[in-house]
Structures are given as C-alpha cells and as structure tokens.
Symmetry: C2
Amino acid sequence: MESQPNEATKHRLGDLQLAIMRVLWHHGEAAVADVYEALREERGLAPTTVATMLVKMEKKGVVSHRTEGRKFIYRPQVSESAVRRSMVSEIKDRLFQGNTTAFVSHLLAEHDLDATELQRLKAAIAEKEGR
Amino acid sequence: MESQPNEATKHRLGDLQLAIMRVLWHHGEAAVADVYEALREERGLAPTTVATMLVKMEKKGVVSHRTEGRKFIYRPQVSESAVRRSMVSEIKDRLFQGNTTAFVSHLLAEHDLDATELQRLKAAIAEKEGR
DNA sequence: GCGATAGTACTACCTTGGTAGTTCAAGAGT
DNA sequence: ACTCTTGAACTACCAAGGTAGTACTATCGC
C-alpha cells in the first residue's frame, strides 16, 4: 500500500488542480498532452507544468495513471461530486459555522438570481419537501 | 502609502487568518493576547504564531493596528460580508462555473436541511420575489 | 532600583501549489 | 543506422500560509 496522504485532505484542490480534474472528469481519462491542449487556451502553461502537477496529484491520490506506449494516461480517482461536496462543506464550515441555511440565504441575498431562477429553486425546495 | 497587495487577492484568507478575523470581527478590535486567548481552546497555538500571522495580515492589508502602551491593538480592515461575498464567489466560479442556481441546488440536494429550514428558505425566496 | 514579566521583532523552517527548464531515452521517419 | 521528435524524470524556484523559537526591551510589582 503506497500510503496516500490523508483522506480528509484529499479533496482540497488548488486552482490548477481543479482545472486539470475538470478535464479528466469530462474526458474520463487523458494523456498529459491532451490535458495540456485542453488548458492551453485559458491558461497557456508549459507542458511540463501540467505534467509536474499531474505527478503531484498522483502522489496525493487524486488521479492515477497507466502507460500506453510511452505515454501516461491519467484518470480521476476522486469524483467531481465528492470534491464539490467536501469543498462546499469546508467553506460552509469556515464561513457560516456549518449552517447550510445561512449559506443559502447568503447566496440568495448577495448573488444575483433572476425570476426564472428563483422559480426553479422554489420548485426544487417543493420537491425536496415532497419526500 | 504603503503599497498594499492587490485588492482582488485581499479577500483570500487562509484558515488561521479567517479564525483570527472572526475574533476581530466579533470584538471590533483586540490585542494579540486577546486573539491568542480566544483561539487557545480550539487551536492551542503559540502566542508568537498569532502575532506573526497578524503581522503578515497587516502587510496584506486585511488588518491594521494602533499602539496602546506597548501592546498592539488590531482591527479588521475588511468586513466579514466582503470576505464572505468574495470567497463564496470564488468557489462558485471554480466549482459551478459561476452559476448561482447550480450552487444553491447543490446545497439543497447534498447538504442536510430540515423542514423548518426549508420553510425559512421558501420565505426568503418569496420575499425576494416580492420586490 | 531591580528583577520578573509581557510584548514585539526577527529569523527560521516546513508544506503546498504553481511554474518551468534541462536532461535523457524511446521511438518514428527516412 | 541515424537523426528528429516526443515524453517523462529530475531539479529548481517562488509565494503564501502556518508554526514557533530566540532575542531584545519597556514596564510593573516590590
């Protein structure tokens, strides 16, 4: 067993790490060059930067790779939803003392939503109440 | 003018920084020893750790201090709501591509809320629609 | 007046994320 | 067979957050 770092910390992803994960989540798996290509426009990084980051991420346990010819094909080891859940929870704890309602209220009050979206949310709440 | 770091980055607070800010927000202002005392239980840090962090935070522009006798009294230079807004926005952008509705839906779906809280949220939405 | 104490200043170290150059080897094309 | 290219390995840096020891000094209690 390769003693991966702490389970709890596993979902703490930096900005670039998240961007890379997004590519992997969408592609299922991808070679370094693919990830590099996917991020080229928005970030313009050196290919080695992507490669290095991937190595660090593998050490951390959030991705894994297999070899195909002489290239590395990476795939996610944590799901997008797990990452979302835990990053949101963390912010919720840090900023709202874990209070989900306070968090939602904040979003309603301070982050713009148009009428249509409010409608959608009402529906979502109603549905949740339903069960 | 002491050339404080970038306005945009100003609201990116680390864990300890946030904890310290919380103390300052609640107290209005506080000496190092007070902050230390307030965090002693939950964190058990050395007093110097708190002091050092405060210095870094002042350099960054998120707090300021005045002298009283030979102690430093610190006070916040950014409001809790500003920090909340910008940290939440950041997460929203990073995890939900800036989509507030998606963010709220996620909270509703994945982070527990009891019936009373749902009720309260419905009210909040209704009120927001009202105007 | 003087020693103990409380407080800040300075320095140092570690970790993580981010960025990238340089080196080396495998393989593709001619 | 030999060169060009493509990929990974290794190494190096930097910044920021976090943590704390040590040094120095103003002041307080006696």
